[in-house]
Amino acid sequence: MSDYGIPTLKENIDRETVDQVLALDVDKYKYGFETDIESDMAPKGLDEDTIRFISAKKEEPQWMLDWRLEAFRRWQTMIEPTWARVKYPKIDFQDQHYYAAPKGSSGPKSLDEVDPELLRTYEKLGIPLSEQKILAGVQEDGNGEATPFSGNVAVDAVFDSVSVVTTFRKELAKSGIIFCSISEAVREYPELVQKYLGSVVPVTDNYYATLNSAVFTDGSFVYIPKGVRCPMELSTYFRINERNTGQFERTLIIAEEGSYVSYLEGCTAPMRDENQLHAAVVELVALDDAEIKYSTVQNWYPGDKNGKGGIYNFVTKRGDCRGKNSKISWTQVETGSAITWKYPSCILRGDGSRGEFYSIAISNGHQQVDSGTKMIHLGKNTSSRIISKGIAAGFSDNTYRGQVSCHRKATNARNFTQCDSLLIGDTCGAHTVPYIESRNSSAVFEHEATTSKISDDQMFYCLQRGLSEEEAVALIVNGFVRDVLQHLPMEFMVETQKLIGISLEGSVG
């Protein structure tokens, strides 16, 4: 945006909002450096040998390899989906590496064995991996700014295709919590992995999920035992470094009966002219009365101001509220990626379960965002809430696409959806595509896309206490969002609140 100047604005758009969006412009990407480190790579191309190579590198058992090969065979029969409002040249799946790992780090080790160059990279990104440092309260990134990952947070650091270190494992193990890379989990907890892997996102779910099932390299595995409230935030930090590679992350989180976990995810990549693919699958399982909060700060390299380079972020994230009264909430702050194709979803299977989706998607430059959520109501008395704000500037396109669906047996299902979009300048686009599918007469679904359509009762209540209409709207909508943010780590909240503070004025459906 710096080159084509500040767009002329409508009078009623808040100046501060605009400045905040401009501060996030693609030119100002601050994580674009490259780490010079030697890597072990799989040869370019994708065939069964590539998959055997990955599986062998990870020292996987036979069942895992078979699972991957089965997925690969299915993937070959599938065609790429085209329904999303995004445009990109055809991806040549044979022209990239499917495995890249820093030399000598075939798996996470103790901290003192990790290449110091890697540690420096994470420090530069504001992710201190040394437990002593974290406990000593080092809370700054290379630029002296506080980051969401610098608090009392356990981190699994994934660099290209491998997890290089997972902090606080022993500490967490004391409470019976398993927090490790998925590769380790496959070897060490095969019964848990076999039971849950692919149970939320089936192998054949969609083109990219099937590809991921065949070639996934690393990601995190979390298991919270019955009745345990995870004592610290868990997080994974994904970094793409090598050229011509794709990152295929796989994360699996299982919350047993009555447990609670809050999980954070962050991601960055170097600035390059090429487009790199990040096709992840995240599966969450919440059993009876369990709660999972999953927060993402997505900051992949968005490409330069001419739309060259950047990450293709094609991600399948799904949570299964399998048990009664379970709860899954997704919070996402999306500012990166050249293309985002991502619909964190909740399957509300257990009676009384609850799904939430809070999203702020900001696009700039030539970014294309097609993101939203799915709330699938299957159980009785299930409820869901969707709050989405899309802000488009520059030449970007920002689409909210969300599905709310109610099964025949989902008596008393309830959904409230609100999505606002804001356009800054007349060269960008903001779109809303909700899919509302009701198959039970007692289900009540409400979808609103204007600030004036908050429930009349709530409005009346606020107005009647002397608030102006605008204050009332801000109070109600911010109330929804803050509700979740308050449960997040302090630094994350600060960062996100800057974005949430964005004025509602001048927004369009």
Partner: protein, 403 residues
């Protein structure tokens, strides 16, 4: 899912392709053979999978004489009967109405199979040129006669600058598994004021596609009402293009669906110039295993600043086996616009029912009152009383139906 498989043509697709061959529309015939009917993978047919829903295509209709009484009689209206797509003798036209026939497709070519089929297979179009303040309501009475047939009807209505008119089109026919495909193009000249209503009352064995297309010039005012109250499978497509500044349109519609009926209204509105406004209100009421579909897309192009569009869709579900599917979509490329959409879906409000019952009204009556109130917003929007009465009558007939 997403599995690539060679197209296997259904019986309906085979018949369509050979009908297209018989009129020399080879291009479209090839398209049908290559791609088949639209499935749920085609975004605009996501909830109306024609490959699944359209099991057969009856033979192309032959010319027929209109027999019997009209499905509905509108007091004081000037009626033009179109039987199996052919314009019948319409008597002397009142002042301001010129009736004729037009050759060729009436709608712009669009990337849509139903519209293309009408363009390729239709024989004759009714042409109406309206000037001045047209007094009587114009009733275009489309009828399907005889045995099951594939009936294509076309109407082109040109409303001159400054003219005023109310036009109602009804679709009805004999008890046979007809396949109707109606296309109407209405162009509104500068400052024209038009109310255009299409009511599908075809027999419950029939399948009906209704395509409406509006071209709205500067300062024109349009009220468009689409009511799907007939056919086992009904899909109405409403296309509107704002091409002149200062125009305003209200788009309204209603799907009522019973038993196993599938009723779909799909809207595609393009605000292509600055300073145009529109409201959209579409309601659905379903019971039995009925399925109501509403898809509404409003596009605001880059330069169409100061557009104001408000879309609302509401669904009322009266049984647990019914379905309501809605997709109100906004595609916005201009930054100084106000566009909103809302969607609600649920059954009758218990609090309101309780209120009425606490005042001594039996539950069944209270329910009917609330349903009537729900539908009133659509029916009452039509200012012409005799037309409004006809619409009320259709709704009442549906309500009193024993299910």
């Amino acid at each position: 899912m997403n599995i690539q498989a060679p197209i296997r043509l259904s019986a309906a697709e085979e018949s369509l392709a050979s009908q297209l061959d018989s009129v020399g529309a080879e291009g479209l015939a090839t398209l049908v053979r290559d791609k088949g009917l639209p499935t749920r993978r085609v975004e605009s047919y996501h909830y109306t999978d024609l490959k699944m829903l359209l099991n057969d295509v009856p033979p192309l209709a032959s010319a027929a004489q209109a027999g019997g009484a009209p499905a509905t009689d509108i007091a004081g209206a000037y009626r033009i009967v179109v039987a199996n797509g052919i314009v019948q003798n319409s008597g002397t036209a009142p002042a301001g109405i010129a009736v004729g026939t037009v050759e060729g497709p009436v709608m712009a070519s669009r990337d849509d199979l139903i519209v293309s089929l009408n363009g390729a297979l239709g024989k004759q179009a009714l042409g109406l040129d309206l000037t001045g303040d047209v007094d009587p309501v114009i009733h275009v009475d489309h009828r399907f006669e005889g045995a099951a047939a594939h009936v294509l009807s076309r109407t082109r209505i040109a409303v001159a600058a400054g003219a005023k008119a109310t036009i109602i089109e009804t679709v009805s026919g004999s008890d046979a598994a007809h396949l109707g495909n109606l296309a109407t193009h209405v162009s509104l000249g500068e400052g024209a004021e038009v109310t255009h209503i299409v009511v599908d009352m075809s027999a419950l064995q029939a399948r009906q596609f209704s395509n409406l297309e509006y071209r709205i010039e500067a300062n024109a005012k349009l009220k468009s009402v689409m009511i799907n109250a007939g056919a086992a499978l009904a899909r109405a497509q409403v296309f509107a293009d704002f091409v002149g500044e200062g125009a305003h349109s209200d788009f309204l519609g209603l799907n009522v669906a019973d038993t196993d009926e599938h009723r779909d209204i799909t809207l595609d509105i393009s605000h292509a110039v600055p300073n145009t406004t529109s409201t959209e209100l579409y309601k659905q009421i379903v019971r039995g295993r009925g399925k109501g579909v509403f898809q509404g897309k409003i596009t605001v192009v880059k330069d169409a600043q100061k557009t104001d569009a408000k879309m609302m869709t509401q669904g009322l579900m009266l049984s647990d086996e019914a379905e309501i599917l809605a997709k109100p979509e906004l595609v916005i490329y201009a930054d100084d616009v106000v566009c909103g959409h809302g969607a609600t879906c649920g059954d009758l409000d218990e609090t309101s029912l309780f209120y009425l019952m606490s005042r001594g009204i039996p539950r069944a009556d209270a329910e009917v009152m609330l349903i009537r109130a729900f539908l009133a917003e659509i029916v009452d929007a039509v200012e012409n009383e005799s037309v409004s009465e006809v619409l009320t009558d259709i709704v009442e007939r549906w309500l009193s139906k024993d299910v």
